[in-house]
């Protein structure tokens, strides 16, 4: 985190003013910029312009804790890793406070491991900055792919998929997306989805279509309900328009223009 820049009220701000009131929305922008506790620590250290091998653990810990408490006060969803780092810092601090016994002076500096981690992380941050700079496709040079059409006679072999695989794939996706709680997919939904596709195709081919033509009495009550739900869903997703010129006149459905 070398340069944080946020624009607040039209002014560019690149560091958090020490004792000024920080408007919460601006602070949020700054905090969201940090990619984890090591990133935050590196920022705090760089801001002080100090030699990392001489890491002043007391002021850094204090500042780190201040950021953490600001984030918590703002109900910022704090990754557990930030708290782990807080306890690591506290542990180092307490070790440093213990009196050093003279015959144990080859014992490792309690800060050593943290300093090593910070340097290691900085190394890969540098690497990622180099990667950001080197030429890449569609930004610095242009690759020609799939540049030409070919005759329709090209045959693509059909993949071998079992229907159960399809179902499991969809369930995996739903689980991952955690949208299951808000979207209850029931057996009926699919018939509505299918009807939506049929209606869309019909409407696409004919400019306007009479509302009644979307229903087939032979399908019985359930079929009519499916069509009706499909129409409502299409309207809700703003895919079609329902048009009636005056009351009691014919109702038409058309593609949303």
């Amino acid at each position: 985190m070398n340069n944080i820049t946020a624009v607040y009220n039209g002014k560019k701000i690149s560091h958090i003013p020490e004792d000024l009131f920080i408007p919460p929305e601006y602070l949020r922008i700054i905090l969201e910029e940090f990619d984890g506790p090591l990133d935050l620590l590196l920022y705090l250290i760089k801001k002080q312009d100090i030699d990392i091998t001489d890491l002043p653990i007391f002021p850094i810990t204090e500042q780190y804790m201040r950021y953490i408490s600001i984030m918590e006060n703002m109900h910022f969803e704090l990754a557990a890793d930030y708290l782990v780092m807080a306890s690591t810092l506290a542990e180092i601090k307490s070790k440093l406070l213990l009196p050093v016994e003279s015959d144990e002076d080859d014992e490792e500096d309690p800060r050593a491991n943290l300093i090593k981690r910070l340097l290691e992380y900085q190394k890969y941050k540098n690497a990622s900055e180099r990667l950001e700079e080197i030429p890449r496709n569609y930004r610095d040079f242009y690759v020609v792919t799939n540049a030409i059409d070919y005759q329709k006679s090209i045959i693509i072999e059909t993949p071998d998929i079992k229907i159960e695989q399809l179902k499991h794939a969809f369930m995996d996706v739903l689980k991952r997306a955690e949208i299951f709680s808000t979207h209850n997919i029931q057996s009926e939904t699919l018939s509505v989805r299918e009807r939506m596709t049929i209606i869309l195709s019909l409407v696409k081919d004919n400019e306007n279509i009479e509302f009644e033509r979307l229903f087939n009495i032979k399908e019985g009550r359930l079929g009519v309900i499916v069509s009706f739900l499909a129409i409502l869903e299409l309207v809700k997703e703003s895919l079609i328009d329902i048009i009636q010129n005056k009351s009691l006149s014919k109702i038409y459905i058309s593609v949303k223009k």
Partner: protein
């Protein structure tokens, strides 16, 4: 190095994902010395250069586009089959989302999967005719709405979409 108009047009048509009309090309060049006639002449000239080649520039409804001449179908089939990603998890998830949540846009699929949609997968699905474009959503960019086809159902030996396996809440737990 400066390029002739023909070479610039050739490069633009090859790099572009979509056919380009002469008006689009003029807009990109943004130079008063070119006009529609000059673009068309340049394309004619390119096609004469390509006489012995296996490629040519074809005029389709939305503009000019490179196409393969006939004769190399067996090679191209082998090539396309290899790169279609048909057996990947991404392929399966994409067709599953289209089937169960149709009609959907690319953006919808990306939102659900949390990751960008691979263009090859959509293209393969369209080429297999498992999926078709049924309309456009009325939102910025007018994205295409994808839905499954009867060919897709035929493959699974089903008559209706509602015959696909049900997704129930209980099973997801």
């Amino acid at each position: 190095m400066s390029f002739s108009l023909e070479n610039i047009i050739e490069c633009l048509l090859l790099v572009s994902d979509e056919p380009l009309s002469s008006n689009q090309i003029l807009k990109i060049l943004d130079n008063a010395k070119y006009n529609k006639k000059k673009i068309e002449d340049a394309i004619d000239k390119l096609n004469r250069q390509y006489e012995s080649k296996a490629i040519f520039i074809n005029k389709v409804a939305s503009g000019y586009r490179f196409q393969a001449k006939s004769g190399l179908e067996t090679y191209i089939s082998k090539l396309k089959d290899k790169s279609s990603n048909k057996f990947s998890k991404a392929f399966l998830e994409t067709i599953a989302i289209i089937a169960y949540k149709q009609p959907v846009t690319r953006g919808d699929i990306e939102n659900i999967r949390g990751i960008a949609v691979n263009s090859n997968i959509i293209r393969t699905l369209l080429e297999l005719e498992w999926v078709k474009v049924v309309g456009h959503r009325d939102s910025p960019g007018k994205p295409e709405l994808f839905a499954t086809t009867t060919k897709f159902l035929d493959y699974f030996n089903k008559n209706k979409l509602s015959e696909l396996p049900e997704i129930s809440e209980v099973e997801s737990l």
